[in-house]
Symmetry: C2
Subunit: 202 residues, 2 copies
Amino acid sequence: MSAPARKRRPYAPRVPMAERREQLLDAALTIIDRDGYDGVSIDAIAREVGVTRPVVYGAFDGLGPLLTALLDRQQQRAITQLYGALPLTALASTPLGIVERAVPALHAMVLADPVTWRAILRSPANVPDVVRERIEGDRTRVRGTLQMMVAAVLPGADAEVLAHAVLALLDHFGQLVLAEPEQFSAERLTAAARAMIGAWIP
Amino acid sequence: MSAPARKRRPYAPRVPMAERREQLLDAALTIIDRDGYDGVSIDAIAREVGVTRPVVYGAFDGLGPLLTALLDRQQQRAITQLYGALPLTALASTPLGIVERAVPALHAMVLADPVTWRAILRSPANVPDVVRERIEGDRTRVRGTLQMMVAAVLPGADAEVLAHAVLALLDHFGQLVLAEPEQFSAERLTAAARAMIGAWIP
DNA sequence: AGAGAATGCTACACATGCGTAGTAAATGGA
DNA sequence: TCCATTTACTACGCATGTGTAGCATTCTCT
């Protein structure tokens, strides 16, 4: 009998760098969606793609840069979707009109791209500082926009506090819709929002 | 000269089991408050107390049971504080009255015991399933109470959705108050809440 | 003082994850 | 066909965390 000859791992299909990068980002997003941010590691990503760690290091300088690249890719998408759904141009409109259009739009938005939005709405407590700061930055920016809308529509109100409240609600109900789409339909949420907003401005 | 005689670690003060358990729970809470749930490990707890890991294993069967015990200890405290602050007996009162009493009471509550409330409000995405499920259970129970309050005070409203909204707001502003007590005073938040609630019931 | 119980420590084996240096295979062009 | 380039793999050393077996120390009670 010949020497032990330990099995050599079969070569994964060879893939050009650019494509491999995309593939790795997809894998990271899949893991985040499936296991949460805790599950993301160079090792897990490599395994998800069916490849060894050095391959990942060949494409990115580490987990931080990889996740940053993932954000670069998803951010444009998310921000675009969001500002498309929030009718910014309707500043002159009535609060009721804004809500009646925004709530169903947001509802459709998260369900249209659940993976992206779960990754964003899920609290990233662990992720590298670079990433956490960045997501917080985006959130702050969105809150600033909300604050301006509130100030325009409800002069005299505590716009900062209300913007915090609105964002917290969007955040929470976004997660709720993703978790139980059946139970929290666009109609139901719109009706509830209408009931609240409707009472504010007689 | 004598043999190398590697230094032996000085004995930590000997402490009876019951006391050691309390000490370990305190340490775990301290770590959660300082480093978040990610920082909690048998090792970190042992280090925090100035003791070796086997000592921790002598007191608890692992991290899960330890954290469960920590919850056992904090839960009573938190629930008591919460139901003390939420004037449940005031079901007959007006919404405005409830808010005007509840908001300052809750504000004072979290600031009176920030360590407990930071540990509860900080999203525990990581913690062992046992713990996560339990905190979610408590949250659900509190939401049920809120739902009953809402239903009693605003008949005809979508009590379930509103309870979700209220809890999400309490959660978010709780964290905000803990993070920036100066900026979000009881007066300011009460005024904002009053403005919102006041408009609901003409 | 002395024995035994209670408490703490050392040391090991294991597991997972990181990051890198060196080597092997596949691929495309001369 | 053969070589250079690109891509992938193996193997190592490091770090941190787990859980346990066995030894050392201290305390308490007689």
